[in-house]
Amino acid sequence: MGGGALLDGAPSAELAALLEGIADISVDGAPKFTPAVRQALLGLVVGRAYAPPLLELCHLLRVAALAPRRRFESFFWGVSLARAGAYAGWIRSRRPAPGAAVPVESDGGGVTIVYPDGRFAISYGRMPLLVALMEFLVSALGYPAVLERAEALLAGPPRAAAAGETANELSRAVYAWLTPHLPTVHEKRRLDVLVGWLTARHAPQGRSFTTDDIDDESVLAFWLAAEEPEFRTYASALRGFLLLIEAMEHAAASVAVARAAALGTDAEAGEVEPAAPGAMADAAGRHRVIGADEVADGIDPLAALAEPPADAVKLLNARERAELEMLLEAGPRGVRLMLSLLRRAVFGAVQARISEALRRGGRAAAERVLASMAPGDAAPAGYTPWQARSDELAAHLERAMLASLHLLARAGRIEAVHLLVALEGGLDLTPLKEAGVLADPARLGAVLADPTLGGPQAAALMLRARRAFQGLSRAGFEPDAASRPNLVAGHAAAAPALPVLAARLARARAALARRGPAAWDAQLEADRRVFAARFAQIYAITPEETLP
């Protein structure tokens, strides 16, 4: 493999292409690895956190070697889509004979390899990621190198310790391979610049900076003063601060708390989604469901909707998805960073056009772009359109939740309760419990639609839900969707994520609503001048000629 060209200390093109190649692997048009697995693999690689999963992978090789003639490749590449259930099926079909050299015990949750010197357990839910890691290994180190180590491991006496030795060898090889492809000096410098600037800013107050100090004003002040080329664009400055907040919160949580519960994203393997609302009884004994506003901020609902089986339902189109990503990127910090997000959406686009014009050698074109920032000019688009657009997105999400509720209730799926409660916050679920449909949801649709059984509030909601379903013309909402198992599974998987998404959008809308249209327009006019002057300074084009 050739050496990857490094640009500005960034990850190499070869590494980027390698990861893209893994993401592109598909079977009959469906990606082999889900977005969550691809994301997790990316995290393992760039975070250099591959040592523990490499150990699991080496133990998994013992299981994969149950294939005829010990051809472990059949497990890693012979199973079409990388899903927990598929690997469970593969393992069940190749259970070793009693008295095998390395006994492998399997149950509903995973496998345990029983060595003379210890046991090692791997859950089925973990296997898709381990298979993706194997794909990474053969792509980076080459199949011959991986095969050599795997064969040596499998040919040796079965010992748990041997897997550890092979994992260490592989870990060293991956480290060596990654070093030229993944320089960290550049990123460390970016962090140091941000931390240094914030520290200096708050030193006169005699205190350290906090995540709360990173707000719209500080992001803009930093960008206006930044001399480092890596913070030349406003977007890069904002991204740096968002990453810093995330890193500080992550570090604080990691240092403070070791989570007791095993959490995961693989519902098929029985893992628990941390943000999935669950039914519980309140102090009065009434059954209710934990609302979306009560759940942790730790999940990404947009990612959940892109995962199979939820991705079979077109709950969001590409534009809606991109706009939601933009509005929600700052997560819970969105309230104090909403203006920064809008600045990036509006002026980041202008900066990209100036930069592109200059790259093409068109100084006059760049100046024309700058001229378009003059007050009163139609471009750039303002901040106020985002208010209207966020209202439309909220209305769409409500329609989608209603339509999904209709389908899930008809299909007798308990996941409908997530949507029921999100759409009708004060709904008393006691009638549903008394009708027995929380335990046996087959009659859920019939009970909800009948005011004498489910109550008038639920019946009215179900009427709206039916109308929304009939009015939504998208893939996954066809008239016969309730009888198509893949679509029902898709709606069921999306049901916990939709209320979280709606709650987050509501938070972003509240931030947008803190200013009236006139105040947003005034802010835009002020920002035009500030950004135009800074662009003129960065790109050496004259603002006096373009701005009055």
């Binding site: 493999m1 980027a16 995290g43 956190a49 051809r71 011959p144 906090t210 995330e246 919160e249």
Partner: protein, 185 residues
């Protein structure tokens, strides 16, 4: 949750640094445009070697041809998944071979009397030599480790197979070529 930088302490700050670097690199990788044609993944090579219906795209074949690592990987893989192999034969007459033989199997090529544009490909496999659980699925033809052609075998049990293929097809020309290796998978 408000977090003060100083409250993190040295350990927390190291943790934050590691997280920032990883998240920043990941963001950089996500935003990076692909700068070159994708190489065939190992999954592509495995599929070619084991799935009778899988074809490598011409660009992928070219990359295998030009990348020694991929060639070596494919050669090793074919060696592992293949059950029976006939190696390149000695040079034959100018018309090419009409019979290929390896330990445990024979391939015969017979021009159709009714239609010269068609050739019968007869494969006889010694059941004693076949160690896999399932019947043979495909006959791979390689030249110096590079994929030349692949013949999907009928999806039915049997060790005496006969198929008819166009005389000018890659598979018939590959089988007649004394310089190719044949591998039954």
């Amino acid at each position: 949750m408000s977090v003060a930088w100083s409250d993190l302490g040295a350990e927390g700050q190291r943790h934050a640094e590691a997280h920032f670097i990883a998240a920043s690199l990941a963001a950089g990788l996500r935003e990076r445009e692909r700068s070159s044609e994708p190489r065939p993944s190992f999954a592509d090579l495995y599929a070619w070697a084991t799935d009778p219906a899988h074809r490598l795209a011409p660009a992928q074949q070219a990359m295998v041809a030009s990348d020694p690592d991929l060639r070596r990987g494919l050669a090793l893989l074919v060696g592992r998944v293949g059950q029976l192999r006939a190696v390149a034969a000695a040079a034959a007459s100018s018309g090419g071979l009409d019979r290929r033989e390896g330990p445990g199997f024979t391939v015969r090529l017979t021009a159709s009397r009714a239609d010269a544009a068609q050739t019968y490909v007869s494969i006889d496999i010694d059941p004693e030599s076949w160690r896999a659980d399932s019947p043979p699925a495909a006959l791979l033809v390689l030249r110096s480790g590079l994929p030349v052609a692949k013949l999907a075998l009928p999806d039915e049990p049997g060790f005496a197979l006969q198929l008819i293929e166009p005389t000018d097809s890659d598979i018939v020309r590959g089988l007649r070529d004394a310089g190719t290796d044949l591998v039954l998978v």
